[in-house]
Amino acid sequence: MTPEQLADALTRTCVVIPAFNEGESIGAVVRAVYEHMPGATVVVVNDGSTDDTEANARAAGANVVSLPLNLGIGGAVQTGYKFAVRRGLHFAVQVDGDGQHDPREAPHLFASLVRGEADMVVGSRWLGRGDYVAPRNRRFAMKFLEALVSWRAGSRFTDTTSGFRALNRRTMELFAEHYPSDFPEVESIVLAHHHGLRVTEVPVKMVAREFGTSSITGLRSLYFMIRVTVGLLVGVMGGEEK
């Protein structure tokens, strides 16, 4: 991909940043996206935050779509995809609002999308770039999901919970219609695969989060595992959707 191709792709790209009470970090994240992805349309989906997320995102120059109530990450990300589809944009990149994803890595996500070799690209922490280390207690869960998704999606995935991903128009249109609600990252990979879309992984660098803590800890992580497993085994299997 030449720099010209990248610049052209960026003008047709929507950067979707879901944010729930990320007032401390959202301004810096938006500014970093504008700096490293010039020409892109940036939309912050404010998922019913009670802090100054909306004001700070607006001050940094982003489009802000503010949900009147808290829908959770799935509903928020889907709102961003709907926004991108309605604006007629061709690509979408999802970036977390907490500063964990470095927009300088976005070109790696784009390459195979722009060449038309993939419909969805997931940025993986584990494929060699960067030095991100997972907390020990998470490794089992990650290995388990890796095996499950690789089986359901027919090819190897190493970072199924990564929220750093890029989609083309076809995948955006699918996700604007159907998107899992609770823990969408894992399920959406399999969902896209089952709709005949090509999903691949590329290595990206990630930084340990600057603010806040992971939303999935303790008992919630157990629920997370059960919920995702059921979702993958049952939810996607039938493919019958009204």
Binding site: V45, N63, V64, V65, S66, L67, P68, L69, L71, G75, Q78, T79, K82, F83, R86, S181
Partner: protein, 116 residues
């Protein structure tokens, strides 16, 4: 015999509560019909049980004590009904999600329109 009187009282109370809720329009029509039939059926049952009306049927299912049969059917009904509520709630949540998203997207469009 005393158990039948208690069952009768409970059924009549349920019937009264249902009628009150319907008159105050706190129940959707379909649910109103459902609860009315439930109350009527329980009233009829509490009247019919003491006369041994269900004894042959209960014995057919191998249930020695006829009121137990009513209990089993009752439990089955409630299991089914809670499942129905669960499905309705999921559908409502999905609709709520779509509405919230639409409101947010429309509001963004209004905000981003240039001032006249």
């Amino acid at each position: 015999m005393k158990g039948d009187i208690l069952a009768g009282i409970i059924s009549v109370v349920l019937l009264m509560v249902t009628i009150r809720a319907i008159r105050q329009r706190r129940l959707m029509e379909t649910h109103a019909v459902l609860w009315l039939s439930v109350s009527v059926v329980t009233v009829l049952l509490s009247v019919a049980l003491p006369f041994g009306a269900f004894t042959p049927l209960a014995h057919f299912f191998g249930i020695a004590y006829p009121p137990d049969m009513v209990l089993v059917f009752g439990l089955f009904f409630f299991a089914l009904f809670t499942f129905h509520l669960s499905v309705s709630m999921s559908r409502l949540a999905a609709r709520e999600r779509v509405l919230a998203q639409e409101i947010a997207l429309v509001r963004e469009m209004l905000n981003s329109e240039p001032a006249p």
